[in-house]
């Protein structure tokens, strides 16, 4: 396993299981969705083991429901801890949202009301998850298609308040910021820097789908030029941040995803000269 966590990674997806171990192209690290590996065996488990021989792997969850109402699933968190230990994950990331109510899973990342009650509630749970997983938690800013009733904070202020209250890191999803800005009639660059970008330990880049009046964060297309520009501006201000190319819908051949990773790495080279030599 590579020791360093820097540069540009891609998501490990089963569509690429046949290709990933054969590729000669540069892949700095891999990100997995732990829900696909905790207490799951078979081929996925074998491929992960093989990837660990070659790359650093990190875990990005989708279902811990950091802002949700249900008690934390202690059994799952124990399994997640075992997985994080196995892959030697430097941190665990998940979304600042809820995904289940009363045990019912909605299979989505749902926005909380942007208010003080949700800040306090989410921060307590993030601290608890960090404690259970014995490592720092990064929260990802999600896409939201409607501001929830009861909100009185701006989305950036909400994420900042949670991150400060929980003293956690940020996984800054630039495409989510872009979709939110477009869907809510705001300036993308302004929204980007309203987030607590100084806490960003990882960046996500992805494409989206235009559907009627909305941009949907479907991770099913190339990164758009506006998002690349935001990414460059972020790195110029914040320095090199490990970056992931996400492609989860209509997944193309591995080489196409790696083309996007190369483009991100080129921008990192230009925005942060010498980043590869930095410790």
């Amino acid at each position: 396993m590579a020791d360093e966590f820097k540069g540009v990674g891609i998501g490990l997806r089963h569509e690429h299981f046949d290709e990933i171990l054969e590729t000669k192209r540069r892949v700095d690290w891999l990100e997995i969705v732990p829900e696909n590996y905790v207490d799951i065996g078979g081929r996925a488990s074998r491929i992960l083991d093989a990837c660990l021989e070659r790359w650093r792997v990190i875990a990005h969850g989708v279902s811990v429901s950091l802002g949700g109402p249900d008690p934390l699933d202690e059994d799952y968190l124990r399994g997640l801890l075992r997985l994080c230990d196995k892959i030697e994950a430097p941190f665990y990331s998940d979304h600042l949202c809820y995904s289940a109510i009363d045990g019912i899973e909605f299979l989505d990342l749902l926005p909380l009301p942007f208010n003080d009650e949700a800040v306090e509630h989410s921060a307590q749970r993030i601290e608890a998850v960090a404690d259970r997983l014995e490592r720092q938690v990064l929260v990802e800013n999600i896409t939201y298609y409607a501001t929830m009733p009861g909100s009185h904070l701006q989305p950036g202020a909400f994420v900042t308040a949670v991150a400060e209250a929980a003293d956690c890191g940020l996984l800054l999803d630039v495409n989510n910021v872009y979709c939110n800005a477009k869907n809510h009639g705001r300036d993308p660059m302004t929204m980007l820097f309203e987030l607590p970008w100084e806490r960003a330990k990882q960046v996500h880049l992805a494409g989206h789908l235009e559907e009627g009046p909305r941009l949907l964060d479907n991770h099913g297309a190339p990164v758009v030029d506006e998002v690349w520009a935001m990414y460059r501006a972020l790195l110029e201000k914040a320095g090199p941040i490990p970056t992931l190319i996400e492609w989860d819908t209509d997944i193309p051949a591995l080489d196409r995803v790696l083309d996007e990773a190369d483009r991100a790495r080129a921008i990192m080279d230009e925005a942060c000269p010498g980043w590869e030599r930095e410790p």
Binding site: N36, R43, S45, G103, E105, D108, E117, H121, Y145, A146
Partner: protein, 247 residues
């Protein structure tokens, strides 16, 4: 969690599960600053998620439902989610665990659905579980996790292949068949086989099940041979102790 946040989640559950409209949720919680239409979009998103997950898990069921009647697939998805709320499916695919059971319930309530649907659903499901169940100890056969024995009233594996290749594939005549579906303990690949009588007896003995008279009369040597063959195929695992040697 304070009372206002509790109220928020209670109203959202009702909205997301389609039990109330966005307008009704807003009457309880106050208006969404984004407008009712955008707020209501979340119900659409969740409905899409359940449709997509079930379509990917049970592609042949969607094909046959659409062939039976326009709109039936959507009715089945929504009816299933309402009757079997998706609890505990952190892995979204776990949503499908009781789909076959639900299809049987619907068929019993109204005869519109053919029985082959629930058998196809069961086959899709055990195939998924066999592929993904957690790695099992070398001397554990993993019945109902890695290894499944099912009696179907139709030639399900052949029809599954046919309908995957051609949406218009004709539904076969009933033809009872016994299927063993397994993730090979030898090479990890998921396969099916049809057991002989001696093979069935070997599988029953591995589970310490009483043998029906017809199987109990089989020659022990034949049953042992079938067991050995299953071990070679990866259906069964090599046992560290002789069957029956443990207390």
């Amino acid at each position: 969690m304070n009372a206002s946040l509790q109220a928020f989640f209670a109203e959202m559950e009702s909205l997301l599960m389609g039990r109330q409209t966005a307008l009704e949720a807003e009457q309880a919680l106050g208006p969404s600053p984004s407008g009712t239409q955008n707020f209501a979009f979340y119900r659409t998103l969740i409905d899409r998620n359940y449709h997509k997950t079930l379509r990917l898990l049970f592609p042949s069921i969607k094909v046959l439902a659409q062939r039976t009647r326009e709109g039936l697939w959507t009715e089945l998805v929504r009816g299933f989610v309402a009757a079997h709320p998706p609890r505990g499916c952190r892995d979204p695919n776990r949503l499908g665990a009781t789909f076959s059971e639900y299809l049987a319930e619907v068929r019993e309530a109204k005869s519109e659905l053919p029985q082959i649907l629930e058998e196809l659903a069961e086959y899709h499901w055990i195939d998924y579980v066999a592929r993904t169940s957690t790695n099992i100890a070398d001397d554990d056969d993993g019945f109902e996790r890695r290894l499944f024995i099912r009696q179907f009233s139709y030639p399900i594996p052949a029809f599954m292949r046919a309908v995957t290749a051609d949406d218009a594939a004709e539904v076969p005549e009933p033809q009872p068949m016994l299927v063993v579906l397994y993730r090979s303990a030898v090479n990890g690949l998921v396969r099916i086989t049809q057991p002989t009588a001696a093979g069935l007896a070997a599988l029953a003995k591995r589970q310490a099940l009483p043998l029906p008279p017809a199987l109990a009369e089989l020659d022990e040597a034949h049953v042992a041979l079938a067991d050995t063959k299953f071990v070679e195929m990866g259906v069964l695992t090599q046992q560290s102790t002789e069957p029956g040697a443990e207390d």
